[in-house]
């Protein structure tokens, strides 16, 4: 019980930092603005296409689905934005504590390193979840106005996918932040690592060897494809959860080892 209380105290503290500095506002503003404009252009595109389809193929045209033409592409685009936003959320998590000397406060309080790492990760993940929820409000517009309502289940799975996808970056970024006292360095290194994980996908051309195809499976983007389309496959969720666990494990080991090297 106290363990949960400790983690919660840390989450609250991190949120105070996020909202006590411009970071949270900048990130939220950028995120929601981009979400909104992607949504707007997707809807605009959808309307034009469906009108054209209506004119060209009278009667027999298959109905275009909002899920397929609006929701899924928008969330897919937001994954790119997450690539840029995640370093901003994670860079300060440990780097700032180290720079300010406040690691000593956490290190001498009756907290375990697991609690510290989890608290910080959950704070960043929580803010990220709030960002996704704020973006999802846009889709409310579809439910309100569209003649045929979109299905909500694919939206749920796509959002979950986007969330887990971002959490991988956040977990890895948390680890990178433990390595330095400089936030800028933490941000740049995290971003480069994220980008690398993104492009691992390219290794999978049809002629590639089994090794490279295995490597491409590690690409975080690869597991997003199906989820964004609304297909919730166990293997993707397991991949994300193990990736997150691995990132947090690295962060924990790093914090633990610094105690010994200090």
């Amino acid at each position: 019980m106290t363990a949960l209380g400790n983690v919660w105290a840390l989450v609250r503290k991190e949120w105070r930092h996020y909202f006590g500095s411009p970071i949270a506002y900048v990130v939220l503003a950028v995120w929601t603005a981009l979400f909104g404009s992607f949504f707007y252009s997707a809807v605009y595109f959808f309307l034009r296409r469906s009108m054209m389809a209506g004119q060209m193929e009278m009667g027999g045209a298959p109905k275009m689905s909002l899920n397929e033409w609006v929701i899924s592409p928008v969330l897919h685009n937001m994954a790119v934005v997450a690539l840029f936003v995640a370093p901003m959320l994670t860079m300060r998590l440990f780097a700032e504590e180290k720079k300010q000397g406040t690691m000593e406060l956490l290190g001498t309080a009756p907290l375990t390193n697991v609690q510290i790492v989890l608290g910080k990760f959950l704070a960043a993940a929580g803010l990220y979840a709030a960002m996704i929820l704020a973006g999802l409000l846009n889709f409310g517009f579809l439910w309100y106005h569209a003649a045929t309502k979109p299905e909500w289940k694919p939206v749920l799975s796509a959002s979950l996918g986007l969330f887990l996808f971002g959490c991988c970056f956040i977990a890895l970024g948390t680890f990178v932040s433990t390595l330095t006292r400089n936030q800028i360095i933490a941000a740049i290194v995290s971003f480069c690592l994220f980008l690398l994980l993104w492009i691992l996908d390219w290794a999978a051309d049809p002629t590639a060897s089994a090794f490279w195809r295995a490597v491409s499976e590690l690409a975080v983007t690869k597991h997003l494809e199906d989820m964004v389309k609304g297909v919730l496959a166990l293997k993707d969720v397991v991949f994300y959860l193990s990736f997150i666990t691995f990132g947090l494990f690295l962060a924990h080991q790093s914090v633990e080892s610094q105690r010994w090297r200090a």
Partner: protein
């Protein structure tokens, strides 16, 4: 309450703390004295479980710092040299956070917070951002943080560094008032502070304990052997003889004089205080006693003496033999 046994910390080849042992009883205020880089901070970090020791053991409140760090941390309040504060948080929020991570129960939290704020007199800045506070207030917020969990043991690393004189006096009074209820280890290199606040002193140099005693005893033992300066009006040669005849006086040296006055340096035998006899001898022989003064051996001198000698004195009792050299 605190038992430190043969504690050693090495950083690569550098040995920061080298076989340090001492004990602190419940309710005691222990001064931890040493020049910069002597290993004070490292020892304190080990006691607060921030750093693991390379060798030796340390127990706080009956728990080993290595085996059961969480139990130790629950019972220790600590302020590092620069108090660890979040400049972007308000004092209240910061203390609330500290109370939470120290496991202060929800029901007791508000009361504890109010107590700590009152004791450290930071009531008027509770709603301010920590980043806007002066050094003195920050130090006190740090202290409030340390006493929040109502810990059995307080470990304070130079709590008066960077404060103005008024704040120093207030902080010392606060620390003294916390003693008894809490067991306190306090590091400093301001010596008067030790004699004012601490019941016992451990002097540490180059990672080793060079002396351990009460401030009075330390001063007293060495003072017994400290040279006295006697200035009187009258015939110099006869007076020297009279002074030499006083029991407990080991040597008398003439130290110049003016018109009709003479000055002597008198070395007493170690462990004796010959001042009353000296005064009586001078006056009873009809000389005017102009001055009777101890030369040196304030805590400052002892500190300098103990930390600058090549081979550290094993016990304070061994120190007086060499004490005269420092004074002369």
């Amino acid at each position: 309450m605190i038992e430190v046994e043969n504690l050693t910390k090495r950083y690569g080849r550098h040995t920061a703390v080298d076989g340090v042992s001492f004990k602190v009883m419940k309710g005691e205020v222990l001064g931890f004295l040493g020049p910069n880089g002597a290993g004070k901070t490292t020892t304190m970090r080990i006691l607060t479980c921030y750093l693991p020791p390379t060798d030796g053991r340390a127990k706080v409140a009956g728990y080993d710092v290595f085996e059961e760090p969480l139990e130790v941390k629950k019972r220790v309040g600590y302020i590092p040299e620069t108090p660890p504060l979040y400049p972007d948080m308000r004092v209240d929020d910061f203390l609330d956070f500290c109370a939470r991570i120290k496991g202060v129960a929800k029901a007791a939290r508000a009361q504890r917070l109010a107590d700590a704020v009152e004791k450290t007199r930071i009531g008027d800045v509770r709603r301010k951002l920590i980043g806007t506070l002066s050094k003195g207030y920050r130090q006190r917020v740090g202290l409030a943080q340390a006493i929040l969990g109502n810990p059995d043991v307080l470990i304070l690393d130079e709590p008066t560094a960077g404060l103005d004189p008024k704040q120093i006096i207030e902080t010392r009074e606060l620390i003294r008032s916390l003693g008894g209820e809490h067991t306190i280890i306090l590091s400093t290199h301001i010596l008067p502070e030790v004699s004012m606040v601490c019941g016992r002193v451990v002097i540490i140099n180059k990672g080793r304990v060079v002396a351990e005693d009460t401030p009075e005893n330390l001063t007293h033992r060495l003072r017994g052997a400290a040279t006295l300066r006697v200035e009187l009006r009258g015939d110099g040669a006869a007076a020297a003889e009279a002074l030499g005849a006083v029991p407990g006086v080991a040597a008398v040296r003439a130290h110049g004089g003016g018109s009709g006055t003479a000055t002597f340096e008198v070395d007493p035998e170690p462990g004796t205080d010959v001042r009353p006899e000296l005064a009586r001898a001078v006056v009873s022989r009809g000389y005017d006693l102009l001055a009777l003064q101890q030369v040196g051996m304030s805590l400052e001198d002892i500190f300098l003496h103990l930390t600058t000698t090549e081979t550290p004195a094993e016990t304070p009792a061994a120190a007086p033999a060499a004490a005269g050299e420092v004074v002369a």
